[in-house]
Symmetry: C2
Subunit: 227 residues, 2 copies
């Protein structure tokens, strides 16, 4: 069975788990801790970046960009996460990059670094209490991203059109990590909440809802489908 | 004719120009300045990120991730920049992400921000003299990336194997921007230099070698094929 090297709260690892479940591909999970990466991770991926997907042959597919396209090429068919014409696929990939680059830089990275990584890093490696100015700035920028998600799902059933796509999985992977931390202002964004309820109810999401990092349990309503 | 919104020293815009030339696709160029983006850019791409490729139909493909795949899907055939099996394509995409994420964060972004953007930004938007500590740190990290490029091209003719691929274009786009700034230590990395000479001699590279930003001419040997 293939294996995935991942960290539960890493948005890119989360999207890979969602995509694998949507494609119906079983795999074993091996947890990495970004604050203490193993030699195994570097042996497979010299950049040390997660996720890494290891085929039964031993071949490793490294990083979210390569893995998303690889899974679509090798596991797509019954279901495609990059459906449609070249133009529609370009729109899906534009939105995936929106979340993986812009949203990550402005929201996910500061929240996860300040609230998770700094908790586990030693003091001489940047560990300690969160920098609350960075946390507040990320929470502030989160709002305009949620307005953009509202705009998109008011236009269509799913983020990039009538079909579920990698764009929905990318957005849900980032937002669910932030929801784990208790930083999602659901009440102020009912349209986003309604879209998230639909995706959270999919069987592929179950594995994410069981996440529980040692010494850092999820926010109260994280696993609740009626949040 | 299609149009590309670009900035000459943006590594992602550079790679798009190289890819378009390799595919044999002519397009007009419209220059954007990252320190003063136009409303036109935001109208096409709400994230304001370059490059943006506009088809004759008016449809815009936004961002390097979507554009690279879109061009391969619509302009590939005679030449492919993502050649080979799913596994080979995964290796190309791994290396593209190495340059677009890791190399960009550690080297291109600090060098371009400090030496180019700060020169054109107003003082209250972060303009001013370069932060030389960031410049020195980027130059230091550049060396280990060049060691990695040496290792890759000692193994194969091109970065990801026997064929030119998007990985070579990604690396060359970043390195050529740094070469423009005069920060490439060619003498210390003869294997990288030999690979770069081969790619710099390709017809697709000519348009990049004509780049000349107002008030900021390229380093002396930038356009020289015998550097």
């Amino acid at each position: 069975m293939p294996k995935l090297l991942h960290f539960p709260l890493d948005p890119y690892s989360r999207r890979s788990r969602l995509a694998l479940a949507e494609y119906g591909e079983a795999c074993t999970l091996a947890e990495e801790r970004p604050w203490a990466p193993t030699q195994t991770l570097f042996d497979y991926n010299p950049s040390g970046i997660l996720p890494v997907f290891i085929e039964d042959t031993g071949f490793a597919v490294c990083g979210i960009e390569a893995l998303s396209e690889y899974l679509e090429e090798t596991r797509g068919g019954r279901l495609n996460l990059l459906p449609g014409s070249a133009l529609q696929r370009a729109e899906i990939r534009r939105l995936v990059a929106w979340f993986d680059v812009k949203f990550y830089t402005e929201v996910s990275e500061p929240l996860i670094s300040e609230k998770v990584l700094r908790r586990f890093l030693s003091a001489d490696n940047g560990g300690g209490a969160p920098d609350m100015a960075r946390v507040r700035q990320a929470r502030h920028l989160l709002k305009s991203h949620l307005d953009y998600v509202s705009y998109l799902v008011e236009e269509n059933s799913w983020l990039a059109g009538d079909d579920l796509s990698l764009a929905d999985l990318a957005a849900a992977a980032h937002l669910s990590a932030i929801d784990y931390l208790g930083d999602m202002p659901w009440a102020e964004h009912p349209v986003v909440k309604s879209w998230y309820q639909r995706i959270k109810s999919r069987p592929s999401f179950r594995v994410l809802l069981q996440d529980n990092i040692a010494a850092m349990p999820p926010a109260a309503s994280y696993a609740d489908l009626d949040f």
